[in-house]
Amino acid sequence: MSDYLMEMKGIVKSFDGVRALNGIDIRIRAGECLGLCGENGAGKSTLMKVLSAVYPYGTWEGEILWERQPLKAHAIRETEAAGIIIIHQELMLVPELSVAENIFLGHEIKRFGGRLDYPAMYKRASELMTELGMPEINVAMPVMNLGGGHQQLVEIAKALNKQAKLLILDEPSSSLTASEISVLLDIIRGLKKKGVACVYISHKLEEVVAICDTVAVIRDGQHIATTPMSELNVDRIIAQMVGRELTALYPKQQHPIGETVFEARHVTCLDLDNPQRKRVDDVSFELRQGEILGIAGLVGAGRTELVSALFGAYPGHYQAEVRMGGKRIDASSPVAAIRHGLCMVPEDRKRHGIVPDLSVGQNITLAVLKAYTRHTRIDAEAELETIRDEIGRLKLKTANPFLPITSLSGGNQQKAVLSKMLLTRPKILILDEPTRGVDVGAKAEIYRLIVELATQGISIIMVSSEMAEVLSVSDRVLVMGEGVLRGNFINDNLSQETVLAAAIDPAARVGGDIASATPPSERVNMESV
């Protein structure tokens, strides 16, 4: 009677008496792509961990039917044998091993005596790559030489090699470029045709709309709705996720823009491993007071390298001339940059943002601790007062400031990192992917904060891979591609197509000298030169 490949019925999972999942029902047919949406902490990952037996049978309540039989797996090995394969947000590849070795990791083809059968593995790996539409990939090459998109492909090939019937993709596109995403989506379409079912978890709802047949939304561990795609669009999914119609996701607000306060001249960054290659090639631009400058571009365009060089944090060799208020300043290290009022919130929150062993409060005051000292002693009360103010101002959700920062959700961790930098009273604030891994509600608050800061006269440089974000928040948009500046647009109903076209166009290059926008609403160097 049921033609479902997999059914989860009434799944309940508790941690220390707190219900993370409270009766979830989802089901999926062979060849179907199910979008799983929900804010951070809604329970998506927990649900998938139940399905893939990261949480073994018996630690949760409810029932899973797999090909109409109850599935009682105790280990990931068993669910993988059944054909349920999960691909995590962070890729699980060994960078030094080759494509083929990665695909067969743990399932190597062996000859007598445990010797690896390389010819057989290369052959099978090449077949898989051809199947995925990428026959040109050299399967003997170390994975670290591949781009993010191709690495994702290797993960999928690895899953296919395990005879996947149900593929769970957890935020697969978070580090992919637009073109790589379209390749990924094509591959998923191909898999669907072959009868492989997919669960697609993503914050990027455009992709969900593009690829999924049905969308299940969960919120706070509750199953909200499972709806066919034909009855949905991005706005309705968002509404289901947050439980209310979200009108002001991106507040577009007019704010005064003053004179030029910041100039970056001739920034060039060399690649860490390969000094012949320039990650950033002679980029110059200006920034005005209270201006929000978005930097768009595909992943690997050199945007993060550019801004970290400005902040004195680029790990390799680089050249950069940074001017503030017409004078050249020393921004050769974060210490020096912050002293001049130039601050950066880095892209990788886990590695460069939070200090995991310190509390929420201690993270917030890390950069300005000296301000609270009296005779070398930290004035705990003054510090706490500031922390309380900051928590209130940024609507940071934490039970108390003494909790470890790692106990917070991604969005709240990001707010803490932002707050840390704001306390230094920057004049120029660089935000690198400020909303990565942040849920919809916290995103809106961060956008509101950015606009508010600009209104106060702080100039903001925002690097972002989310086009919608760049276009709705920025006053002006720089477009980078392959290390050079390919576009500089005043954001006056700027279209996504224009930006994307500039990012891709290899011939485009905006003047090596100064790329500055003159009076508002006038496009400079439109499209290309």
Partner: protein, 380 residues
């Protein structure tokens, strides 16, 4: 539920578990030695034995919290103790000048180690390993491989002197008063900021325990010769280092650097300078430990401080310092040092063979860290 509470209590107050461990070790040795182990004379001895490792552990805990390691401290202790003996015995230099020279040399060598680790990017493990060999070599060169004795009485007093009884008692009362004031202020602060304060009974019990320990400590030592000078030095260091790690910017930065160096650097903290000074302090502690050691032995020996680095590192880990950096306490490290010293002392009293002593100490270290690791993962 009850069980959970106990586990939480241990998680929060690791020091409690350590104190219980010490109680067990002490009871065992007292039983085996018919009470000789806890005689005033032996306790005084034990604490003096512990002082050298304890002084090193004070510095080492900072190094480990910051995510580094220093293997050269044993040799450096020996070298600086040897230099002190050479200055004192062969050159007849006055005590204050000797102290200044040795402390300055210790600080300088520590800063050198720090510079190589933080600014030149040489892993601290290698810098330490190199130093371990080189400093021992210099010591052999300086002393010509001979024990240098006898050192002057003034220097000996640093290692073998005692405080008069009345001063010891006064000190005990002062410490108790300090604990009272601090607890009072903490309660007041937490109340003012609407934070959940620990129940009153728990603070009262805590103060009562502190008082009892202080009373026992002072009375026991006074009933022998008084508080030994090196033990006083160690107590002072405990106070200073606890203050630095919990109340100052530098202390906060040590934890931040050890927990996530990149994030700390990007927050505008000069992480290299922090590391430089941590190693500087470590060098200073080596100088103090070297002086106490030479004074205790009344001689500068070319083998002084051999494997001292291992005792200090073991003390830190037994005291709950995290291997990967970012967490740990000074008092924990000192209790760890006390555990090691108790084992040494007790087993020597029982005439246990040296090889057994080494086996037991090694096993205890591994066991202690295993317990620490398993309770840590249990919490997640």
């Amino acid at each position: 539920m009850k069980e959970l509470n106990i586990k939480q209590l241990f998680g929060q107050y690791k020091v409690l578990a350590l104190l219980i461990a010490i109680a067990i070790i002490w009871s065992f040795f007292s039983w085996q030695t018919q009470g000789d182990f806890i005689s005033a004379r032996n306790i005084s001895n034990l604490l003096r034995q512990m002082s050298v490792t304890g002084i090193l552990a004070c510095g080492m805990v900072l190094v480990i919290i910051s995510g580094e390691i220093d293997l050269s401290v044993g040799s450096l202790l020996g070298l600086l103790g040897g230099v002190a003996a050479v200055l004192d015995v062969l050159h007849g230099i006055s005590l204050p000048l000797t102290l200044i020279c040795v402390l300055a040399l210790g600080l300088l060598i520590g800063l050198c180690n720090g510079y190589m680790t933080a600014y030149l990017g040489i892993p601290s493990f290698i810098v330490g390993l190199g130093g371990m060999l080189a400093f021992r070599g210099i010591l052999l060169g300086v002393t010509g491989g001979l024990t240098i004795a006898p050192v002057s009485d003034n220097l000996v007093a640093i290692g073998q002197g005692y405080l008069p009884a009345w001063l010891g008692s006064a000190l005990g009362f002062a410490l108790l008063a300090l604990a009272l004031v601090l607890t009072w202020r903490q309660r007041g602060n937490r109340k003012r900021h609407n934070l959940p304060a620990a129940p009153l009974w728990r603070d009262v019990v805590r103060l009562a325990v502190i008082g009892a320990i202080l009373l026992l400590f002072v009375r026991t030592l006074d009933s022998y010769d008084g508080i030994p000078v090196p033990v006083l030095l160690l107590l002072a260091l405990l106070g200073i280092f606890s203050y630095v790690t919990s109340q100052t910017v530098f202390g906060r930065r040590i934890y931040a650097v050890g927990s996530n160096m990149e994030a700390t650097r990007l927050s505008g903290v000069n992480v290299k300078a922090v590391k430089l000074w941590i190693f500087g302090i470590m060098g200073l502690m080596c100088a103090l430990a070297g002086l106490v050691n030479t004074a205790r032995l009344a001689a500068g020996s070319p083998s002084a401080g051999t494997s001292g680095e291992l005792d200090a590192i073991a003390a830190c880990f037994i005291g709950g310092t995290s291997m990967r950096g970012g967490s740990g306490t000074v008092y924990g490290a000192l209790i760890g040092a006390l555990v090691m010293a108790s084992l040494d002392n007790g087993m020597s009293m029982l005439d246990v063979d040296t090889f057994w002593q080494m086996i037991v100490k090694g096993s205890i270290l591994v066991l202690a860290v295993w317990i620490d690791v398993s309770t840590r993962t249990g919490r997640r």
